[in-house]
């Protein structure tokens, strides 16, 4: 981020970088930066807080007028508290552990049943205008389950996405599947964090368990780059 700011400014374009990690901005000294005391991943502070987001953006934009760089200002306020919403509860009962231990056909059937349980909530999310992050591969959740099972059985299979190595293609598919679950789980307004959602998905759903298995298969790859990718790209380190 700060590197891009340096390069763009050197091409004659005025920049201001919002910085979630002030220490990094201080080290990289971009021409202008606004350090923000927000959660990682939330450079404008919080979702559905337009007034606060406008303040953050306005403060960043105002730095453009200055030419006494490197400028590093700090936004003074913490993000607003989340709206008063009921605590989140999982939309379905936890998957039975024995469901993940049968043969592939049995696992696929159990996963299809889990997906079917979530589909009404997912459709409610979509029909209410909710964002759909679950469409990178264009595959339906049941197809993704089949793909993950096939890859887990044969990690040397051909990539299902032209131009992308197989391990990256299954990562995109895994994200599509995860996002289908997240979207279904967000259909009922509730207070929930990314961590709580991750904990539910990976520990309490069959689909999440399949992605953990997928990660574990990739961790055994002969290719060090694939092992390194697997270690950081499927399940959040806790």
């Amino acid at each position: 981020m700060c590197g891009l700011a340096h390069y763009l400014e050197r091409h004659g374009l005025p920049t201001v970088a919002i910085a979630l990690i002030g220490k990094h901005a201080a080290a990289m000294r971009p021409p202008r930066a606004l350090a923000v005391p927000f959660e990682l991943g939330r450079p404008l502070g919080a979702p559905n807080a337009p007034e606060f987001q406008r303040r953050v953006l306005g403060d960043a934009l105002r730095l453009l007028a200055r030419t006494d760089g490197p400028i590093l200002e700090t936004f003074p306020d913490a993000p607003p508290a989340p709206a008063e919403l009921p605590p989140w509860t999982p939309p379905i009962a936890p998957a039975r552990t024995e469901a993940a231990s049968g043969d592939d056909a049995a696992i696929a059937a159990a996963a299809a049943a889990e997906i079917a349980q979530l589909r009404p909530s997912y459709e409610r999310w979509v029909s209410a205008g909710g964002r759909r992050l679950d469409r990178i591969t264009g595959k339906a959740p049941e197809e993704i389950v089949a793909l993950i099972l096939a890859f887990t059985r044969d990690p040397a299979m051909a990539s299902p996405m032209a131009g992308y190595p197989a391990h990256l293609a299954v990562k995109f598919a895994a994200d599509d599947l995860k996002h289908f679950y997240y979207e279904a789980a967000l259909a009922r307004p509730a207070r929930v964090t990314d961590l709580e959602m991750d904990d539910w998905f990976f520990a309490r759903t069959l689909a999440g368990g399949l992605i953990v298995r997928l990660r574990d298969v990739l961790l055994k790859s002969d290719d060090e780059r694939v092992r390194s990718f697997a270690a950081t790209s499927f399940v959040r380190a806790r």
């Binding site: 590197g3 091409h11 374009l13 991943g41 404008l44 453009l64 996002h179 967000l186 964090t193 990314d194």
Partner: protein, 152 residues
């Protein structure tokens, strides 16, 4: 997650990550904000769902046309640490396009640029050095006079 809530050793690893020294870059001036055309740059690996997803480690970018349906944006960022809940609930949490338009409507900002740009963070910045010349040329053609870069 706030940085201070991040467990060790991830917190220290992130905080103490050795940042490249790109020296200092003189600030470029410009007209008053109310007359500037502003482009957004995100490193959240956002793109339209029909666009090809990002490849980790490859220096590349996607264009987000100002007039595209922002509801079609997805992220192919590979990091497991990206806060998906914020993005799912409100794209302006990472890409403040609607807030920028409001500032334009209020007269505080001149205009939005016709094109915005998306990168995937975690790619070493030096990898972008040449590619940025191309992006900068496009921005100049669009008469951009200010860029807000938002991380993720």
């Amino acid at each position: 997650m706030f940085l201070d809530d991040m467990p060790e050793p991830q917190r220290s690893a992130l905080l103490d990550h050795l940042m490249p020294d790109l020296g200092e870059t003189p600030c470029v001036g410009g007209p008053p904000l109310a007359r500037r055309r502003i482009a957004l740059v995100t490193t959240a690996a956002l793109h339209g769902f029909r666009d090809p997803p990002f490849v980790p480690g490859r220096a590349e970018y996607r264009v987000i046309p100002d007039d595209m349906d922002m509801g079609a944006l997805v992220t192919s960022h590979v990091s497991t640490n990206i806060d998906r809940i914020g993005i799912l609930n409100d794209i302006d949490t990472v890409f403040p396009i609607h807030r920028l338009r409001e500032l334009v409507a209020a007269g505080a900002v001149g205009a939005t640029a016709p094109r915005h740009y998306s990168f995937m963070g975690a790619t070493p910045p030096m990898a972008y050095a040449e590619l940025i010349a191309e992006v900068a040329d496009e921005m100049k053609r669009d008469r951009v006079e200010g860029i807000v870069l938002a991380p993720v």
